[in-house]
């Protein structure tokens, strides 16, 4: 179920919420937030790469580029990251 959420600002720095645990799976990954007790699924391995590199990258855009996301796919990845931020899986951080 995807809810309409605003895209995340790709030019800011983001990170996984400290209470979120990531478990890779053959289809992508499972994310579990211990605070909200919500489970999310990443159905794409590249999205997993992006999520994992967010904390190290100066911006979300840079994290996408490091994971090899082509520019044409950026809007889709921005929307997916926006949904994650909307459910508190991602938090903004000061770079």
């Amino acid at each position: 179920m995807t809810r309409p959420v605003p895209d995340l600002d790709l030019d800011r720095a983001w990170d996984l919420h400290p209470q979120v645990s990531v478990r890779p799976e053959p289809f992508g990954a499972l994310l579990y937030h211990f605070g909200t007790r919500k489970l999310s699924f990443l159905k794409d391995r590249r999205l997993l790469e992006v999520v994992r590199s967010l904390g190290e990258a100066p911006t979300a855009r840079e994290a996408c580029s490091r994971a090899g996301v082509p520019a044409a796919d950026l809007p889709r990845f921005g929307a997916a990251l926006g949904a994650l931020a909307g459910s508190s899986m991602l938090v903004e951080r000061t770079p």
Partner: protein, 413 residues
């Protein structure tokens, strides 16, 4: 929530639920029953609990299981029993699990949830509590869960609320007596700042003895479905009513039987079963005390591998609703004696009812749970006890097998 960038190159039809049918590297969550000991004797107990089993896992063995779950990244465990809090090491194990990044949600009848315990629970973000209550009034609840159990549960919820615990769960097993009380349950949950969780009555454990008289009637299934649709995400169901999705719109959740694919059960003696409702040798995958422990059972057991194979649907394959209900609950079929590849006993199309009506009067041939830890004394089991009435006294007392007298049983005429 599913997050998938729409990728045109991706095969169509790879819904998450389809991927889950092939199983995961580790369960998403699992049920772990810590003890068969319980202060209550609920008529429908799915694990036939009551007395502790002498073979139950020791504290050290439990900690080793937690270490393994941490390594497998199992996010959280649903701890139950029996009544898990009667284990003297329960709080120690709870702290150990949460310190090792394994979240704990535990089910309790509330007997040990004192104000002090409630404070402690409210302070730990990695703990969730589930209070069991099967009637919104003492009459309806205590008839199933035993005298005083309603008051115990309410006291526990009050203590949790007063300690500032937010969003704990009020867990209800739906029966024909409490289906009319759904709004009242919701009101109780709201009053104590809890979230309502409804689950299905299964004919498992002692539940098999009372299922015929307690399971919701056909028209109540519809009532429940409508109520669930109206309340959506605000009421949890543990995905237990996916068979009702055949009424129309799918209910929130994965709508799939997760047995051996995304869930499983570890019982108090370390046996691993496909699901909490299937404590029977037929669904036994292995034991965590075997070499390789739990991970090996989860990844390599023949039973789990079979469950992860595509299922055929059998008699249901031609039904237009098979794609939504997937044939229903395996355990419900098994313990009512219905074929596993046929309809659920509570099939909304009525196909289960037809088969149920054909069961023999004495229920001969229907599988029984593999273990029974029920209290030997009270309350009496709610099922007929076969007795032979004789019109005259026997001529002589029966001879015990231990009788030492060489002339015992000798009949001189």
């Amino acid at each position: 929530m599913t997050l998938a960038p729409q990728n045109p190159a991706q095969r169509s039809g790879t819904r998450l639920v389809d991927l889950f049918e092939y199983g995961l590297d580790a369960p998403i969550c699992l049920t772990w029953e810590l003890t068969y000991a319980c202060n209550l004797s609920c008529a429908h107990c799915l694990s036939s609990s009551g007395r502790r089993d002498p073979r139950e896992l020791s504290t050290e063995e439990c900690k080793a299981v937690i270490d393994e779950l941490e390594a497998m990244q199992v996010f959280y465990v649903n701890i139950g029993g029996g009544e898990p809090t009667v284990r003297p090491d329960f709080w120690e194990l709870l702290d150990y699990a949460t310190a090792h990044h394994v979240g704990v949600k535990f089910s309790t009848n509330g007997v040990r949830i004192t104000p002090e315990v409630a404070e402690r629970l409210a302070a730990n973000d990695y703990v969730d509590v589930q209070i069991s209550l099967d009637g919104a009034t003492p009459e309806v609840n205590d008839a199933v869960r035993g005298p005083g159990s309603y008051d115990t549960a309410i006291r526990a919820m009050r203590n949790l609320r007063d300690a500032g615990m937010k969003n704990f769960k009020l867990s209800v097993v739906c029966t024909r007596h409490n289906i009319p009380q759904m709004d009242a349950f919701k009101a109780i949950a709201d009053e104590y700042g809890a979230q309502l969780r409804l689950t299905r009555l299964r004919p498992s454990g002692r539940g098999a003895d009372v299922w015929d008289e307690l399971h919701p009637r056909q028209e109540q299934q519809r009532e429940l479905y409508d109520w669930l649709v109206a309340h959506g995400d605000s009421v949890l169901t543990g995905d237990s009513f996916f068979h009702l999705s055949a009424y129309g719109k799918a209910l929130p959740g994965l709508n799939l039987c997760g047995a051996g694919r995304v869930v499983c059960l570890i019982d108090p003696v370390g046996d691993v079963f496909a699901c909490p409702f299937a404590i029977h040798d037929e669904f036994l995958a292995g034991n965590i005390r075997q070499p390789g422990g739990f991970a090996r059972v989860w990844r390599e057991s023949d039973l789990f591998r079979n469950l992860r194979e595509p299922q055929t649907g059998g008699a249901c394959a031609s039904c237009g609703f098979y794609d939504t209900c997937k044939g229903g609950c395996m355990a419900a079929k098994f313990f009512t004696g219905l074929p596993l590849d046929g309809p659920d006993p509570e099939c909304v199309q009525g196909h289960g009812e037809t088969l149920l009506a054909r069961r023999p009067e004495d229920r001969a041939g229907i599988p029984k749970p593999s273990a029974d830890h029920s209290h030997r004394t009270s309350p009496p089991r709610r099922r007929p006890v076969p007795v032979t009435l004789m019109t005259s006294r026997p001529e002589r007392p029966p001879v015990s097998a231990c009788e030492e007298n060489p002339l015992a049983g000798l009949r001189l005429t």
